[in-house]
């Protein structure tokens, strides 16, 4: 009877290339579960629209953060350009686009911070004021938390680039990170529509 029910399969056969890459499948699975997490907060936001017993109300204090939105959405374009440059082997171009991505993300986070500061100190809206405050800060805050995590990861890659560790072997990993960043941007579209368009 044969010893092992198998024969040796040489590395790099068509079979192993036909299977999807585990990093991509992994990040897609993470995005699926994160989407569900966000959707519960979005549902809670919509469920409690107009249920606040006391003010301030959304239409009094909210104004759509257009500049922030443009910055965040365009960072999705710049991160694609960065990965494309890395794939082409141009580390310098990659570093530039990557830095611009980071700067755009940081601008978004600063914008959110300034908005919160205005709401808290000038409009008197905190998480315990009313249901609007409760759902607004938790939904926008959850998104801002994800932006922060993304920015930390982008910063990590930036530091590695400056130390000269980046090369075209890292294309797939930066690509996977960019998928997460696209997800954060896509969630912002939903949050923006929910909070600043439908909810106002």
């Amino acid at each position: 009877m044969a010893a092992v029910p198998t024969t040796v399969s040489a590395a790099g056969t068509p079979w192993s290339q036909a299977l999807p890459r585990r990093g991509r499948v992994g990040i897609l699975a993470l995005i699926l579960t994160e989407s569900t997490f966000f959707s519960i907060f979005v549902v809670a936001y919509i469920f409690y629209l107009g249920e606040s017993l006391i003010g301030p109300f959304p239409k009094d204090v909210l104004s759509p953060p257009i500049l922030n939105t443009i910055c965040l959405l365009s960072s999705s374009v710049t991160i694609v350009l960065a990965v494309r440059a890395l794939r082409a082997g141009s580390i310098r171009t990659f570093a530039i686009w990557w830095f611009i991505t980071f700067a755009l993300g940081l601008e978004f986070l600063t914008g959110t911070a300034l908005e919160w500061r205005r709401l808290i100190y000038h409009e008197g809206l905190t998480i315990r004021t009313n249901l609007f405050g409760t759902t607004y800060y938790s939904l926008v805050g959850l998104h801002a938390l994800h932006v922060t995590v993304g920015l930390l990861l982008i910063l990590l890659v930036m530091v590695l680039t400056m130390c000269g560790y980046m090369n075209d072997r890292h294309v797939e990993r930066t690509d996977v990170l960019s998928w997460y960043w696209h997800f954060v941007d896509a969630v912002w579209v939903v949050v923006f529509l929910t909070v600043y368009v439908i909810g106002r």
């Binding site: 029910p5 299977l19 499948v25 992994g26 569900t36 809670a44 249901l131 405050g133 409760t134």
Partner: protein
């Protein structure tokens, strides 16, 4: 000899550990990223908490054995109930299923490990810390207000009961944070299983040639990704309410009293299927091997499992018929609940079709599988009864419901967990469990189970509400409860026999060899226990039963698939 496959290749250094001192061995287990060791740690942890939460259940049954018993005060009873439920779901059901999937999925797809081994270890230690945290509440739960120790709000922890004014102290916070942590750990495992099954399969194993267990692992993993976040999100909201003064579930600020129920059951009902689909997976591997036939209707089996996965996401509010929903809502959830019975019934027929005309071998794993088939059928039938909204209005929150879901959780899930332990223990340890003790275990557990949970149906029909800590004599409940408690004792003895069996086999069990059951999936082609790298060379498969092809080169499966 058919049934044993020798490896010519030296299987390396599995015995190196024997020379290490005890601390060294412990260190090896703590730092490991090997899917087999993490799987064993998950299963051992799950069985440990099975004993702990089982003892709590025994205390509950002791208190309810006779009317007006004063074994435990009401507050302690509430804590026992909450900890029993929470632990059995998150500290027993979940780790045992993730443990088996951890152990088996890479072996069955012919891979060296899961896709992300370190993420796997991270997930395990998160689960472990969460489990520790839940039971630490007995010491640490006093909190600033000195109220209570362990959580006492029930395993579904309905808000606003769990809001700060009604649940002082920190015991509820322990419930929130510990379950939150175990959920993150489970999510890590789910991502790992999906990435492994899609990306790490050995050559020739197309999706349609995967063992049924791997298919069902994928279904369960997807359900975990979709069903766990609603619970985590609701827990985050509750934490915001309790610590930052938010108003998600605060009715005085306009919040809703039933939003938590919706969020919880959007998690809670799929969770039942997350727990039971692994039982289906074990049955789909064990029943064919002990019937000496291929699984009947492989593709229908897989399709039915996917259908269960989808439909079970839309049945949650059948837990809430008594809340007072609209007639349309009631009808929708009654119908969707009945609909989920269709693919489930298909699976029962598939297993029956596998057994039909087979050459049955009544070994212990098969005995537990047959018990599972019968009991899962009954559980499904009472489930259909409860799906009828008016019937549910009559019996909601009675012991009929308790008996129904224990039929699923014990009669189906725990029975198949035991079957899986008996079936794969030889692979994981290299030693057989005793058949004699196993049969004692099976028959005693079967008798005890039916004594307890058959009678509780009738206690429920007679109107005994769940979660009461005692009842008055002369209401027709005395005898039924006494029988149920005696049944619990018998089950306890049966589980003790399992513990003895495991300890005895580890010390002096018969050597198992590579393939003690003459089985067909890839894990039986390697040594028992498998070496750290699983397969010396990557397998290449041509059919769903690669070992059959190897043992019967004159009549291989791939000619017919």
């Amino acid at each position: 000899m058919a049934g044993s496959i020798d490896h010519e290749i030296a299987l390396g250094t599995a015995d190196d550990l024997a020379s290490l001192p005890i601390l060294g061995k412990l260190h090896e287990w703590v730092v490991t990223v090997d899917h087999k060791r993490l799987g064993i740690m998950y299963i051992t942890g799950g069985l440990f908490f099975f004993l702990v939460a089982g003892l709590q259940a025994a205390t509950i049954r002791l208190q309810l054995a006779m009317p007006d018993a004063g074994i435990v005060p009401p507050q302690v009873f509430n804590r026992l109930l909450t900890m029993h439920g929470t632990a059995m779901v998150f500290l027993v059901g979940m780790p045992i299923l993730t443990g088996f999937f951890n152990y088996l999925v890479p072996l069955m797809i012919g891979a060296r490990d899961l896709a992300f081994p370190r993420l796997n270890a991270f997930g395990f230690w998160l689960w472990f810390f969460g489990a520790f945290l839940l039971y630490f509440s007995y010491i640490g739960g006093d909190g600033l207000y000195g109220a209570g120790s362990a959580p006492d709000v029930g395993w579904f922890a309905y808000a606003p009961l769990t809001e700060l004014p009604f649940s002082r102290g920190n015991s509820t916070d322990y419930w929130i944070l510990s379950i939150f942590l175990t959920s993150i750990g489970t999510t890590a495992t789910a991502i790992n299983i999906i990435a492994s099954a899609f990306c790490m399969r050995c050559e020739g194993m197309t999706l349609s040639k995967m063992p049924v267990l791997v298919w069902l692992a994928i279904v369960v993993a997807f359900m975990m990704l979709v069903a766990l976040p609603p619970l985590s999100a609701a827990q985050a909201m509750l934490l915001l309410d309790r610590f930052l003064g938010a108003h998600f579930f605060d009715t005085q600020a306009g919040g809703s009293a039933i939003l938590w129920q919706h969020f919880f059951w959007i998690f809670g009902h799929p969770e039942v299927y997350i727990l039971v689909i692994p039982a289906f997976a074990f049955a789909s591997e064990i029943i064919p091997v002990f019937s000496r036939k291929v699984i009947f209707g492989y593709s229908v089996m897989v399709a039915a499992s996917c259908a269960i996965g989808f439909i079970s996401l839309s049945v949650w509010a059948h837990h809430m018929f008594a809340v007072g929903m609209t007639p349309a809502g009631n009808s929708f959830f009654a119908l969707s609940t009945m609909l989920v019975g269709v693919p489930t019934g298909i699976k029962i027929f598939n297993w029956l079709g596998t057994i039909w005309g087979g050459k049955l071998r009544f070994k212990v794993p098969m005995l537990f599988s047959l018990g599972f088939l019968f009991q899962f059928l009954i559980a499904g039938l009472t489930g259909i009864m409860l799906a009828v909204a008016p019937f549910d209005w009559q019996l909601t929150d009675t012991y009929f419901v308790v008996a129904h879901f224990h039929y699923v959780l014990i009669g189906a899930i725990i029975f198949m967990d035991f079957a899986a332990v008996y079936y794969w223990f030889p692979k994981a340890t290299g030693r057989m469990l005793s058949e004699t003790l196993g049969k004692w275990h099976f028959w005693l557990f079967l008798i005890g189970f039916h004594l307890t949970f058959d009678t509780l149906h009738f206690a429920g029909l007679r109107g005994m509400p769940r979660r009461i800590y005692t009842y008055q004599p002369g209401r027709g409940l005395d005898t039924l409860n006494l029988i149920a408690s005696i049944g619990a004792l018998v089950q306890g003895v049966a589980v003790l026999i399992l513990v003895i069996n495991v300890l005895r086999s580890l010390r002096s069990g018969d050597s198992a060899g590579n393939d003690p059951w003459d089985a067909w999936t890839l894990e039986w082609s390697t040594a028992s226990p498998p070496p750290e790298y699983n397969f010396a060379v990557s397998p290449i498969v041509r059919s769903r039963r690669p070992l059959w092809d190897l043992k019967h080169p004159e009549d291989p499966d791939w000619k017919y698939e």
